[in-house]
């Protein structure tokens, strides 16, 4: 007997083992004209600035063209935004009276009134496929995989012709049982994942699965004027891994000016914040910068102290939330932050629940008392002697120098409980003249276990919620920020890293890992 999950794994492996890729590129003359006008007459340069109306028109026009790249989208379909675009041009023409506006309007009208050249190719491809593949009742044999912008228009088009193929977004295809026939991909894979923060080789590697671990054993990459060509060695999981077998049916007709620009927005990193020094408990930290609702958001992390950045990754059918060392974080990573005290309160509450259930109805209060006692004893030692003396005293008790040096700042962080090893705990207690106690260490160990279990439970709760949001990767790709407000995950925010500061700044330890605005105040979305 086999189970649905296992069947899916077997189907995915089988599909992957039989993967082959065919490519076909077609010319779309009227679209080429539109792109040419946009490039030559609507590109702002210092010498030739554009008016606000022209900038607005260019933005809408590129967006419209981008939707037309997402599959056989009827270029005049309402969902492409063509009506709004033509209206903007007409209004601008009345005011500005520029010939280029009339030329653009004319060309766009011509494109919008015609059909999409990709439509004919898709119909032809599906017709051929139907002769060779089995038809399953529960699922069409073939699938059109879209980035998402053209989903509504292509689905309507498919329905109007009663074509036997599914139309899905890439995110959906990633989570679904593979199709037995063919997957039609439009343009190079990187088009599906490129965003304002991930482009080029990184986008290609992220979307490479469309060719190397594909949604169907046969992949047909259909591209046209506006699409970039496939890149060599960009889609395997690592350089040197075998490439998929490519089969090209026609010579590539590529003209450099044909491509849509890779979108880049105007994110400008802000300068590192300067924090008021509160005592000496600061730590050199690096700022991760994000953008949410047009606002720059920062979070500082240290290599040694405080919370680690928590990365969110999306796999075939699961969301993973993993704390990782700061040095591994890159621009384009999605980070999970908690923006209110709700996270801390929830942690305390679940820790108490854990003590009640797992430690015979006890509370963590006594253990928290020992935690504070250790911190107070360290503070008292430093006040009476010095930090250097603390390191010396720990070394004299047999604690390694590296550990001793880093211990003080870590130990004073609010989240630090106690050393994990009893032998180290005993030595530190002796160094700071605190009487070591087996019972205290046992309670501290319980507190750590309880906190860890509570943390895992809360993470599982967040992950459970995120996994119900099937369009999450697409929303992050398009917006770069998602805020959750549901019970249990309130105050949780997912943010895409837009910049990482190269220089460290001194940050109070208690502010590490918190979401801040560019004026240093706590960010509350």
């Amino acid at each position: 007997m086999s189970t649905p999950n296992l069947e899916m794994t077997v189907a995915l492996l089988d599909t992957c083992s039989r993967a082959r890729v065919a490519t076909r590129r077609i010319r779309w003359e009227s679209m080429a004209l539109v792109l040419q006008i946009l490039r030559k007459s609507f590109r702002e340069t210092p010498e030739a600035p554009l008016s606000e109306r022209e900038v607005e028109i260019a933005r809408h026009a590129w967006k419209w063209a981008s939707v037309c790249m997402d599959g056989p989208v009827p270029p005049g379909h309402p969902s492409t935004g063509i009506a709004r675009l033509l209206l903007l041009i007409r209004e601008a023409d009345e005011v500005l009276g520029l010939p280029k506006l009339r030329r653009l309007h004319e060309t766009l009208t011509q494109v919008a009134s015609g059909s999409h050249p990709g439509a004919e190719v898709v119909i032809g491809a599906l017709g051929r496929l139907q002769e060779t593949t089995e038809f399953l009742q529960s699922q069409f044999p073939d699938v059109l995989v879209l980035r998402g912008d053209g989903l509504v228009a292509v689905t309507e088009w498919r329905d109007s012709l009663n074509l036997p193929a599914d139309v899905v977004s890439m995110s959906f295809a990633r989570q679904t049982q593979p199709w037995p026939g063919s997957a039609l991909i439009f343009g190079p894979p990187e088009r599906y994942t490129s965003s304002n923060w991930i482009q080029g080789p990184e986008a290609a590697a992220t979307a490479g699965w469309l060719l190397t671990a594909p949604p169907a054993p046969t992949v047909q990459v259909i591209s046209w004027t506006g699409h970039r060509p496939l890149v060599k060695d960009g889609y395997q999981p690592w350089l040197g891994a075998p490439n998929p077998e490519f089969q090209s049916t026609e010579p590539e007709l590529i003209i450099e000016d044909d491509f849509l620009p890779e979108s880049v927005d105007s994110f400008t990193p802000v300068a590192a914040l300067r924090f008021a020094v509160e005592g000496d408990e600061t730590e050199p930290a690096f700022g991760l910068q994000f953008k949410a609702d047009g606002e720059t958001v920062l979070a500082y992390f240290s290599h040694d102290v405080g919370p680690k950045p928590t990365i969110v990754t999306f796999s075939e059918d699961e969301v993973l939330v993993t704390p990782v060392p700061l040095r591994t974080v890159r621009v384009g990573n999605c980070i999970l932050l908690r923006t209110s005290s709700a996270g801390k309160d929830a942690l305390d509450e679940v820790t108490r629940e854990w003590f009640r259930e797992q430690r015979s109805g006890s509370t963590p209060d006594s253990a928290i008392g020992h935690q504070q006692q250790l911190k107070n004893a360290i503070r008292a030692f430093i006040a009476e002697h010095s930090r250097v003396d603390l390191v010396t005293a720990m070394e004299a008790e047999g604690v390694s120098r590296d550990y001793s040096r880093s211990f003080m700042v870590r130990a004073l962080h609010p989240d630090f409980i106690a050393p994990q090893m009893e032998s180290v705990y005993d030595r530190i207690c002796r160094a700071i003249a605190l009487k070591p106690s087996k019972e205290a260490f046992r309670q501290l160990k319980n507190l750590r276990t309880g906190r860890r279990q509570a943390g895992l439970l809360l993470s599982a709760r967040v992950v459970g919620r995120l996994e119900t949001m099937n369009d999450l990767p697409d929303r992050l790709r398009d917006n770069g920020a998602i805020m959750l407000n549901e019970t249990g995950v309130e105050g949780v925010v997912l943010l895409v890293v837009r910049a990482i500061s190269s220089d460290s700044t001194e940050v109070p330890a208690w502010r590490l890992g918190h979401a801040l605005m560019s004026d240093g105040h706590t960010w509350t979305p």
Binding site: L6, S17, Q236, P237, K308, G455
Partner: protein, 319 residues
């Protein structure tokens, strides 16, 4: 303790698919794979999913038991072993004469074959009660080990205990899923040899079953809580996902052979590629798997500098 001959002596089941055979190849050879001194053996398995495959690899790496073993049980130690057909953690003291006292049971090493056991490390902090040995696994082992004429039949629980003394760690953010996957895989009996079937039986999450199961499934947070983990033998670490690979927990077991299970459909493939393509590694040498694609799996082997790890500090923030 590692005995590559024991591990590679088992052949795949007749109906084992190609991808399973490849994972068996890695599981059998990576632990003994020769690498340049100072490098630890590593392997990457890229696939369209990371469901089920980590459990398959782990089950394939389990060391099958032997009729002959050397028991480390000695006076003034504390051991994890099997007594009265149950798992038990017991102190060992000198008994009467040449006998040893195992938590109240007197055994004479001179006249008896001592049960397989592991000496518990100094920092061992778990107070575990006695627990039964998985019944089905024991029955399978007893039926597999035929009884030579004139000999007493082997104790099934002792055979099983042997398989648990050098466990395979699966490191993942979703331990429950790996346990569930193992359960599902066990239903495809035609795919497995007897050792794999035993290993897939009752896979558990968390460190509580250390020395009591061949496969231990842990999250990075769990691994960090095991102060004694560097003092115990681990046969292989199977790491699920690149973000887990980059967590500090993996570095606790840097000297152990490790396999990264990478989903090609995951959003962190480009992060992996950035790390892998831009880092200088030693060459791994498992014949036939360098930059290979077969059965839906893409594989390669390499050597990672074992010196890349520093001392791991107490981790308090991985909540």
């Amino acid at each position: 303790m590692t005995d590559p001959v024991r591990a590679s002596s088992l052949v795949p089941a007749d109906l084992a698919p190609v991808w399973l055979r490849l994972l068996m190849l890695i599981a059998g050879r990576l632990p003994s794979s020769p690498v340049v001194e100072g490098f630890s053996p590593r392997c990457v398995v890229a696939s369209p999913t990371t469901r089920h495959l980590p459990a398959v690899l782990a089950a394939s790496a389990a060391l099958p038991p032997s009729r002959n073993w050397v028991s480390p049980i000695a006076a003034e130690t504390r051991v994890a072993t099997v007594l009265s057909k149950k798992f038990a953690d017991v102190p060992v003291t000198q008994g009467l004469g040449t006998r040893l006292n195992l938590g109240g049971t007197q055994l004479d090493p001179a006249s008896l074959h001592m049960p397989p056991a592991a000496v518990l490390p100094a920092e061992w902090d778990s107070e575990r009660g006695q627990r039964p040995v998985p019944h089905e696994a024991v029955e399978m082992l007893k039926s597999t080990f035929a009884v030579p004429r004139g000999e007493r039949p082997p104790v099934g629980e002792w055979l099983y205990q042997q398989m648990c003394l050098e466990p395979i760690v699966v490191l993942t953010q979703r331990p429950a899923r790996v346990a569930q996957d193992a359960f599902e895989l066990a239903s495809r009996s035609e795919w497995w040899n007897w050792s794999q079937r035993v290993a897939l039986d009752e896979v558990c999450e968390g460190p509580d079953m250390w020395f009591r199961r061949p496969i231990i499934v842990l999250s990075p947070q769990m691994l960090h809580s095991m102060a004694w983990v560097r003092e115990v033998p681990v046969r292989l670490v199977v790491v699920v996902g690149f973000s887990t690979w980059m967590s500090t927990a993996r570095r606790l077991l840097m000297d152990t052979p490790q396999v990264l299970m990478l989903s090609q459909r995951s959003s962190d493939v480009s992060d992996f590629r950035q790390w892998f393509d831009n880092t200088s590694f030693g060459e791994g040498s498992i014949p036939g798997i360098r930059n290979t694609k077969k059965g839906g799996l893409t594989l390669t082997a390499f050597g990672e500098p074992a010196t890349m790890h520093a001392d791991i500090e107490d981790e308090e923030w991985d909540l």
